[in-house]
Symmetry: C2
Subunit: 308 residues, 2 copies
């Protein structure tokens, strides 16, 4: 089978055996925003030479304005629910393959709904191995996802616009103007000062102005200010979105994402004396394979034999 994780800025393909062995991977920057609507042609080109008959897709390609709008599945939802609500599509040019889409998830427990598309396949892989009980998962990024899992089902989703706000403030705000352009140097002292500041009264809008005065008053050097801002934002995300809502605090948080981001979040959680367990970003491949297996089993279909 071929597992496809198609987000707004990336397209990742995994070729997997029936037993879940990953044999090949491909990656391109033709995210849904860069397709110009040519979803079928791009996917066909990316799969060239892979003749597997089953293709399972997740991510923003299934959003409104994407290739095929998949309705959201409401929480709580587990592996069997996700597998059952997959939809087969029949685009021209793919007559010799079976293309399936995984639904996104929606949490309607607040006055405004929260949603995810794509991350549910990473969670699917986790759901398969986690014991019963309550688990807290964080998928940091442009839009960080905080997920509560209870007894094998995704129960709560909370998204924080942390990564996007960091980028906006760096590029376009009066704060960015104070900082050096180089983001690569991580300053642990400034990051932790930002974390501490986030726990003080005053709120994020006030603390953000403080980044300016901290810079102007010489509390932090230009080169350290991006780390201070990062600590401030991650701290607010943790206190208000990730941890506060689920008292008592979890002893451990599962982190899924890129190594660099996980390092930042692990540091913040460790500072709060919360343990972390890291999982790689390509958990999506395993999740997609699991969902496909479930679906095939439920349909009484036998998974095709692994290539000879």
């Amino acid at each position: 089978m071929i597992a496809v994780d198609w987000g707004t800025t990336h397209l990742r393909l995994y070729r997997m055996g029936a037993d879940g062995t990953l044999s090949e991977r491909r990656r391109s920057d033709q995210g849904t925003l860069a397709t110009g609507g040519r979803f079928g042609a791009i996917l066909a080109a990316e799969m060239a030479g892979w003749d597997d008959s089953h293709v399972l897709l997740c991510g923003m390609a299934g959003a409104r304005g994407g290739w095929h709008e998949m309705p959201y599945l409401d929480c709580p939802a587990g592996l069997p629910d996700l597998a059952r609500h997959m939809q087969r599509i029949h685009p021209p040019g793919f007559e010799h393959r079976e293309l399936w889409f995984v639904p996104g998830l929606r949490d309607t427990s607040e006055t405004v709904p929260d949603v995810m598309r794509g991350e549910e396949t990473q969670l699917a892989a986790l759901l398969d191995v986690l014991p019963g009980g309550v688990h807290q998962v964080c998928l940091p990024g442009t839009h960080s996802k905080w997920v509560t899992i209870r007894d094998g089902r995704v129960q709560r989703i909370r998204t924080a616009m942390t990564g996007e706000l960091y980028a906006l403030l760096r590029k376009h705000s009066i704060l960015g103007a104070l900082m050096s352009h180089d983001d690569s140097r991580f300053d642990a002292y400034a990051f932790e000062a930002g974390l501490r500041r986030s726990a003080e009264p005053g709120g994020l809008l006030h603390h953000l102005f403080g980044v300016r005065t901290a810079g102007l008053s010489g509390q932090f050097a230009e080169a350290a200010l991006p780390s201070y801002l990062s600590g401030l934002l991650v701290g607010h995300e943790l206190h208000e979105c990730g941890l506060a809502a689920d008292r008592p605090r979890p002893a451990q948080v599962h982190l899924i994402g890129s190594e660099r981001l996980l390092g930042v979040y692990a540091r913040a959680l460790t500072t709060l004396e919360i343990g972390v367990q890291r999982h790689p970003e390509d958990l999506a491949a395993r999740g997609l394979h699991l969902l496909w297996t479930r679906r095939m089993q439920a349909a009484g279909q036998r998974a095709p034999a692994p290539p000879a």
Copy 2:
């Protein structure tokens, strides 16, 4: 005398009699960011035809990188303190005038300092007329100022980056992409929904993502989303920066600023059952005149006679 309020994006001049009567006003968009360092030439041109010998300046022209860096005066500070710490400058070309700068104010009661430059002259006018006791003042804007006055002195300053963040999110974020470009239509229902949302758990970073889902799920139309975002941001500013820190809640807040912004903040405060008293933006002229009078009195100098 001539009172000059020189901020980053505006330059306002007021010609006033010794008794404080405003006889003429001029306004230009040559804020300090647009001067290219030609402060003296620009001011001389703007004052053309006004032969008054005393000129009193406030605002970002007194900031680092401005015309003349004025040190901050630490809170608590009242009218006499501001008057005493004014500084005379002697730039070339102004030999026949006396030019004075008003210092900005700094509050060091938090781990990160908070500051203002320019607003202290609007506050000076208010300090002159307010009775003793505690008063809460809000100057909404790109960087909203919340000020606690106690017995005639500015005691606390809290700045919230509300206006700048609104503009950033409208122009550059994934939220702005969902909204109509027209900001002029105020939607009271959406604004108040945003206000209510700001009081719910989850924090600003989470609530911001909710603007997207509220739009995508059809809770609010494109044209109403800017008002929803505005309500959300103003609500967070009020709860976390303006009101929460000064329990018990004030029965009334003094608002200083443009009519349009004051309308928005008055609506938000009224929703929280807090009274408002509005003051016009050009309070700065009266404040500058007051400071000048105090300074002249303290120096034993007589104010020049009003023009015949």
